[in-house]
Subunit: 352 residues, 2 copies
DNA sequence: TTGTATGCGTTATCAG
DNA sequence: CTGATAACGCATACAA
């Protein structure tokens, strides 16, 4: 005789939930006492009263209403995550870490996808605010972050993932782009590649993109024997990408040549383009990619990558945020992980 | 003179938000009128009053507090999505559709990952309930769905993605597994494969897994010239998978042979295993996979897949849910999409 | 140690 | 058309 209720078919009743009042009545105490019990003020309750409350709660299967709780205390125990592209494996992996860390500390997660649209981001931030989220984890590319800045200025804790937000002195957690990009570039050179193409999405003032490129160029400057060029373009424009890649392949000398893909999306699109251009993966042309993706080991002789600890980044971001929420007012912190080189066949040059 | 506030550094103020009272005062009307305005009762307001309210709202940048709103009206405009594996590309793609559809109708999305853990699922459902979510979109594998059933019995609308939930007459949206699996199997046979291995994750009473297998066997029964076997195992146990795959390869006749991977995870692990076993992809052994993944075209000669319209599935699931939330009491509906065969090199047999 | 009264920001029910 | 006033479910200052 449970879960049977009065409603015959599925989804009928307006689901009246048990309130603290009913628990109080059932336990024969005042709702204040129940509230105290819930608030963990165990020291201020007599033994049998506590037992009664416990019984009543179990019997009625009472769950406190977070809406009411949040309204009263001003704490919603809600965290918002704003992501530019929910389909990006990097974002998803970070999200995974965020979700775990939030749940462990009793926060729930509201997810928003801006699809790279600034107006949408505005609306999402407004929506999140309307739910009184206590903090924000942000991984977007947008430039018009007025609303984000406003939110932060109004005292809402914000943690940026993978990039700094210009004008916002917020916590940030990501990767050491200079280290990671240097390691990758040096690896290519050590493997004997002499013509290098750095391929990135449009820089758009996105911090890590700029830093990675800078590191690439810095390393290259130390190796005069190497020729390098860098291109930032919309890699989803296949024709343009093919053109750019083709130009590079045509212009290189007889020695080994390789492409450095600046992130996971670029790795994917570059691999596709190389195939379209009829390259044998990866004999014609070497390839190294930022971001370890589940399929990198599977294509051709395997794609060498610089892996990021995405899960840890997510966990750290969330922990960082929750510390802020719980009152930490110290200076903004940056947590940078190191990129880890995973060597595969795509960076073993083969004589052409 | 905006966003400057009193706080010097970041994250100081307890972010007092503008309330309906202040809007009312600023507009020189009662808060009831403001509430009416917000509720869209435009017909019941004089022109200038309406203008005043509009001005005040804009001037103060007022945003209604969803917490309070939800508390009063009992409608939180919140939808919960419970997923077994947030890292599964299928789940993510569906989530994408869900997010878009929810936003369009003004619902926000709370995301939960159960990581296949029943206890975690319990807790997540409890948490979602505590936030008064108005509906649930569920994509899990769990068997102990007591809490889910309870929730539904209490009148909470639930939409299942990709599978039916036993004991729950809820809406469902997914793919026509019999059609899709049949198409795939018939394709293999038409291509000349004579030894077929169907590889699945443990059936565990998960509906689509059972249906796909059944379709495979049904088609096979019509082709006596074909030998088929089916295996359901934890594909993450590499050693066991290698063993199983090795056994199959050893036992087959001289004719073409192929593996049917029952979902995206199996496709990934099978491809890894084939590589470990030293197979040339896909000359030794053909492969067809359920779920189109972004990398399928890239490995070897390309992996033939049966694609699902994941985005549409997500959109439909969300729309379906919101219809229920808004009062639709009609009989539970099933929406089944068709799988689309995408032929690539992995199903072009090559003489061994 | 326990209970009463008040208010969080909204909407809904009434009177005017 | 408009505005007091009472809930919504909970937490908390205050009183007992």
């Amino acid at each position: 005789m449970k879960a049977a209720d009065s409603n015959g078919a599925s989804g009928a009743g307006p689901q009246r939930r048990v309130t603290i009042n009913e628990v109080a009545r059932c336990a024969g105490v005042s709702k204040t006492s129940v509230s105290r019990y819930l608030g963990g003020e165990l020291s201020a309750l007599s033994e049998d009263m506590r037992r009664q409350i416990e019984r009543a709660i179990a019997e009625l299967d009472y769950r406190p209403n977070q809406m009411a709780r949040g309204l009263k205390r001003g704490r919603s125990r809600l965290v918002g995550m704003v992501v530019a592209d929910i389909l990006n494996p990097y974002s998803v992996a970070v999200m995974h870490g965020v979700e775990v860390a939030c749940r462990q500390r009793g926060y729930a997660l509201m997810l928003c996808n801006t699809a790279g649209d600034d107006e949408l981001e505005r609306r999402h931030l407004a929506a999140l605010a309307s739910y009184s989220v206590e903090g924000l984890i942000v991984h977007t590319t947008s430039q018009h972050t007025r609303d984000l800045l406003d939110a932060a200025a109004h005292g809402l804790p914000v943690v940026a993932v993978d990039r700094e937000i210009s004008g916002l002195a917020a916590d940030m957690v990501g990767i050491d782009n200079r280290q990671a990009a240097s390691v990758a570039t040096e690896h290519l050179i050590a493997q004997g590649y002499r013509d290098l193409l750095y391929l990135s999405e449009p820089l758009d003032h996105v911090n890590p993109r700029i830093e990675r490129l800078a590191a690439f160029e810095a390393v290259l400057a130390q190796h005069p024997a190497c020729r390098g060029r860098a291109l930032a373009l919309d890699v989803h424009a296949s024709a343009r990408l093919d053109q750019a890649l083709g130009d590079f392949l045509a212009a290189t000398g007889p020695g080994p040549r390789a492409v450095f893909a600046a992130n996971g999306v670029v790795t994917l699109e570059t691999t596709r383009a190389l195939r379209r251009l009829g390259c044998r993966l990866f004999e014609d042309t070497g390839l190294i990619g930022f971001d370890e993706l589940e399929w990198c080991a599977l294509v051709g002789s395997g794609i060498t990558t610089v892996a990021q600890p995405t899960y840890d980044i997510g966990v750290t971001a969330a922990q960082c945020l929750m510390r802020r929420i719980e009152g930490d007012r110290s200076a903004p912190r940056q947590t940078l992980y190191r990129g880890e080189l995973i060597v595969r066949g795509s960076t073993q040059p083969v004589a052409r």
